[in-house]
Amino acid sequence: MNTDNIQSLEQAIQFAIERETEAEQMYQKLIRLAEDPKAKELFQELRDMEAQHRQNLQTLDVTGFKEKHNQERVYNMHIADYLIDKKIDDVRTYQEGLMLAARREQMAYQYYSLLAEIYRDNPGLFEFFSVMAREERSHQNDMEKVYDETVFLYN
Amino acid sequence: METLKTISGYFATIGVAFTVGFLFMGFRRILTARVQNRVGPPIYQNLLDIIKLWSKESAINHGLMQHMGPAFSITASVTTLMFIPVLRDGNWFQNFSFEGDLIFLLYIMVFGQLGMALGAGQTGNPNSAIGVSRGLSQIVGYEIPFVLALTALMVYHETTSLHEIMAAQDSIGGWNIFVNPLAFVAGIIAFLGMTHYTPFDVPFAPAELASGPPSEFGGKYLGMMMTSGSIFAFAKLTLFVNLFLGGASNLLELLVKALALYLIPVIIGIVTPRFRTEQAILFFWKWPTIIGILSILWVVWMR
């Protein structure tokens, strides 16, 4: 689905579901490629996470949406900002996997933020994309936390 | 009606005797404590002790005589009391006084001690046995000056009735303490022996005999003995008030006189160590006996 022809909330959700599916497929591929057991484990976790997000979106109750979303403050450690942008084909190790995931979440955040700007006139869509952006930001933070706790254990 | 009054009089006498007795003992404990730089127990402490003791059960059994000992003691105390007119005149508190009651008293006063001796002897505790023998020896000691003092009074007043001796002391100047001071001295020294306070407490000497005769008695027995002691103390004091201080016409007067008399053994008890047995007996046979004989001579000479 193209961003141009999003007219309704249902369509927007459909759009988001497609994004999650893409991610799921990507991690599936990485699982196959990875040799390192730790990396493999990470990609499995990430795949399952994306699948969970997708399911969440699929069963989303449109009417009650606004009340349900998370309002807590999201930190930004800015780790992802300075990490090398890894290409999917280069990613093999655990660290690279984490870097990729963090960058992806960051990009997703930026993407949804942009969409929210575009659909500022449509309150429903604006709300949805804002929330999605916030969600992705929080995922980015989750990734950064993991990175901070494992790779950056001594840093 | 008259009988009823008499009987209630007896009970009243016992009640007064008991109350005054334990209050005096409480007073002695307070005075002793104060001299000893202590606060001391409340004046009714002895009453509390007696109530406590009466509420206890005794598990020890040394045979019949052990039960009888304290019973004899209390019987003797009450009997003694019954034959001492508490007040000089009036209808109340006259009890069973009769002609020749003084002679009777001389005997009955020892009765309690003998009863105790039997009871204590039964327990088989050597401390009790030695205490009893010491107590009896001491009686032998103080009975002599006591009898001499009484004899002096009886000779002087030519009567063996307590009532008549009392009646004869109609004014303060007529009190036997002033009329025959030597008899009073001999009598009061004998009285010290009777009270068993130091220096004449050999029968009970804790450092030697671990309290002597009562050492096997506890609980109700000890309670009985304390009750008996309270009554007997009152009886003795009343007797001495009657003999030397002209008796009393009302209870208040009696209390004041008795207390004054009571102070003598108490004070001496506070400040003296104990005589050994033979020292005590020798003492009684020496000074008070001489004074007692002198008092009789004095009476004879006066007459």
């Binding site: 800015h78 300075y82 660290q95 870097m99 790779v151 840093n155 | 404590a33 202590r38 606060v39 506070i270």
Partner: protein, 598 residues
Amino acid sequence: MEFSLKGMLNPLLALQQAGKRPHTIQFPFEEKKVAERYRGLHFNDLEACIGCGTCSTICQNEAIDMVEINPGDSENAKPGDSGLRPRVDNGRCCWCALCVEVCPSGSLSLTTHYNYVSEDANSFLWTPGVSNPDGHKELSFVSDTSHSLLDYARVPMRELEGKERIKSFAEVVLGYADEEAKKEAARCIGCSICTEVCPVHMHIPEYISAIEHGNNEDAIRIIYDNNPIGETCGKVCTRRCEEVCPLGARGEAIAIRWLKRYATEKAENAEIIREIVNPDIKPPNGKKVGIIGAGPSGLTVAYYLALRGFDVTIYEAKAKAGGMIMYGIPKYRLPLDSLDKQVEYMQSVGVKIHFNTKVGEQISFTEIEKNHDAVFIGIGYEVPYTIGIDGENLENSIQAVNFLRDINADKHVDIGNRVAVIGGGNVAIDAARVSRRLGAEVTILYRRREEDMPADWEEIEGAKHEGVIIKTQAIPLNVVDDGSGRVKGIRYGNARMVTDEKGGRPRPELIEGDEHILELYTIIGAIGQEADYSFIPEDIKEKIGFKSGRIVTNEWQQTSVPHIFAGGDIVNRTADAISAVADGYKAVKGIEQFIFAK
């Protein structure tokens, strides 16, 4: 009978006292105020108490026993706390307060409370602090380090001056002299709290006591009982034992590591060790065990299995044994000959080591599996994480692990005169101090505060003494290129610390715009490491369980493939030599059980 008048009247003067104020007080209404140092019933500050049991040891009446307040306390106790608390039998106590005088934490005191009446005999078993929770309000006889019978000051360790140190790789710590060691050992209270936290459960009080009495040979035997690299641990152990030493609560912990070092160094070469330890080597039992990696865990497994009559072979990829303790720890902390001596001794008891034999290249894992009854994997974490920022692959951007390995292998590394080390762990400090010895000016960039640094405080101090600059709360942003593919500098931003609401360690948050550039010749990353499992065939990898990159084992270090055992960094999370030794020691039992159960 003669009585003087004086003798009769003077005593009556006693009656004067009746008018004086009595000495006594009326007890239930008035209470005597006791003196400031009064020794009444006990009180124990349950939070400060660590259950070391010294009070119980000193009590000559045996009135104090150590009990659990709630069932399970000793299992759930935090490290450095036995979970037990003193209970005083007031029927035995004599209130001498020796227990207070020897309480290392100062938690035990006596109170002004001296009156205790109860008809229940059991209530005289009094658990201070539990039986009198308000006792802290009535403390009187308290423990004070100035009065205590214990010695709270450590015998200082002589070291090279900071300026001297950076001239060479000479060992910084000079070691205790005999008298110093005895004096330090004499401070020990023998509570065994340290033994509990030591991963290997070394017999610490026992060997300290042997040192105190001058029986170094006994000490060495005790140390070798469950740790074959005692001398290495004596120099570089992370010594969790000292962190929990009760004397550390109000003073300085016993220098357990230095004492171990003192004792083990007394054996100057492998023969002497052999002579002193004089191990009981069992006759060969015909069973073969292959060990991958000659690190601390592998060596431990090899040594104790060899003593038990196993045919043990170690396959080591590098030219020397020791693993991370050989290649990761600089020489000024662990001289080469010290480690060689220990390895030589192990070889003398029958441990075979194939050097330069990388599994997966020179020999396949399958072959090892085939030739041995059991296999132990102790390969360690040797693959470094990279900094992960732009420019990390430029020339002269290197990894600390590789750097240290090269230096220890006597290779020349050109690091120039300006170096930055990224990271705050022991590896980072090692890299910084080595760089300092190579003549460079060194800056450590660390993302958090100094107190958050995982490195040993003694190491941090040492680095500072040697002139290493530590920049904290500095986040590397990217490596600056000089245009020819070389490092020119590093761009870093300052951070503020944000507390983690969910209880983790505080996180650095970049302050946007507060960025600086540090000009450099070399940048050394010391962020962390992971393992390289590529030598294990896929099918076995499938079977062996992994969790967060670590091999999952049972309590005997056995993986889900029964004949494969594993230990060290690839199993435990603590990343230190002593845990690796502990894994090895457990694996010895596991392998024995496994082989003989077959």
